[in-house]
Symmetry: C2
Subunit: 186 residues, 2 copies
């Protein structure tokens, strides 16, 4: 599955995703990345002329693509929309438990703490919502657009909750939060 001999450029991006997602842009040094990627400085500035900022942008886009993959693999085999949502949360909870950098939501560490301008980060997050909405349409969910927005707002909150509690449970149980005992009076 994994590339047996990844190129230096790929190792750099991969290390960038791992470290930036875990510690944020300002919490990660170029030296950290070079050590993790086993690459010399010259290679970084050859492949990413603008250096750390360039790499962080590439890492953010790769992380976004990975999330689109997770969305697809969660909903594709699902029988209904809510079942897909449960599958997605379970997948993210497993990643949370297995890999340190998945303890942080990429939106926080990759999109908001780095060289991406706000609009670019918004576009990446929107692509996740769009993908989720498309799955909602395909699976005849009740209100695909608003539900996709609700799912991601709630999911990001639960992810933060899970991180500060050091426990994947809030992430795993996120679907339970999509209803509430109390309804706001219109």
């Amino acid at each position: 599955m994994a590339d047996p001999t990844p190129s230096t450029r790929d190792r750099l991006i991969h290390s960038g995703v791992t470290l930036f997602q875990e510690r944020g842009f300002h919490g990660t040094s170029v030296a950290d990345i070079l050590t993790a990627a086993q690459a010399p400085k010259g290679s970084l500035y050859h492949h990413f002329p603008a250096g750390k900022a360039d790499l962080a942008r590439a890492a953010a886009h790769l992380a976004s693509d990975l999330m689109l993959d997770i969305i697809a693999r969660a909903y594709d085999p699902a029988e209904d929309f809510s079942g897909g949502t449960v599958r997605m949360c379970e997948k993210l909870a497993r990643l949370f438990e297995r890999q340190a950098h998945w303890r942080a939501c990429p939106v926080q560490t990759l999109f908001l703490d780095g060289p991406l301008d706000r609009a670019e980060g918004e576009r990446l997050l929107q692509s996740w919502i769009d993908a989720t909405q498309a799955q909602g349409l395909r699976l005849h969910g009740p209100a695909p657009l608003t539900d996709a927005q609700r799912i991601w707002a709630t999911l990001i909150g639960c992810w933060t909750f899970a991180r500060i509690r050091g426990d994947a449970a809030p992430l795993r149980n996120m679907p339970d939060l999509l209803t509430l005992g109390e309804t706001r009076s219109a």
Copy 2:
């Protein structure tokens, strides 16, 4: 209302809250804080012997206290629990629109990106949930404990959403998200 002649120590903490909450611990330099607080280096290390980390801890605790204040002022005059929740979101939305550092949720920038250990950050967030739950009990909300948890998980997600969209609307409309068209099958 505001102290007319705040002490150097108070100016340092206040600048710490502002800058750390806006840019995070690693994105803020000691020099930035000293400039904002109009204080010399000697004063910082006199009042906070461990320097930046000490100040960040104090800032996180102050920010947490400010949030407890906001919770109290939102729910105290409310007639019912959901009304108080709406008031709280409106207050946070106004702050979001008026002051740059309120664009970021303190949980993200103060509790998770800094010298606080995870457990201490969890304790601070828990104090917000406890305060909200107490208001739920007082106002006879339907399920104070679980609703307080739901409110904060959803609120943090909406806050992140608002930040990346550059618009307070998701924060202001958060109460609408507490119900969802679709209910997960038990």
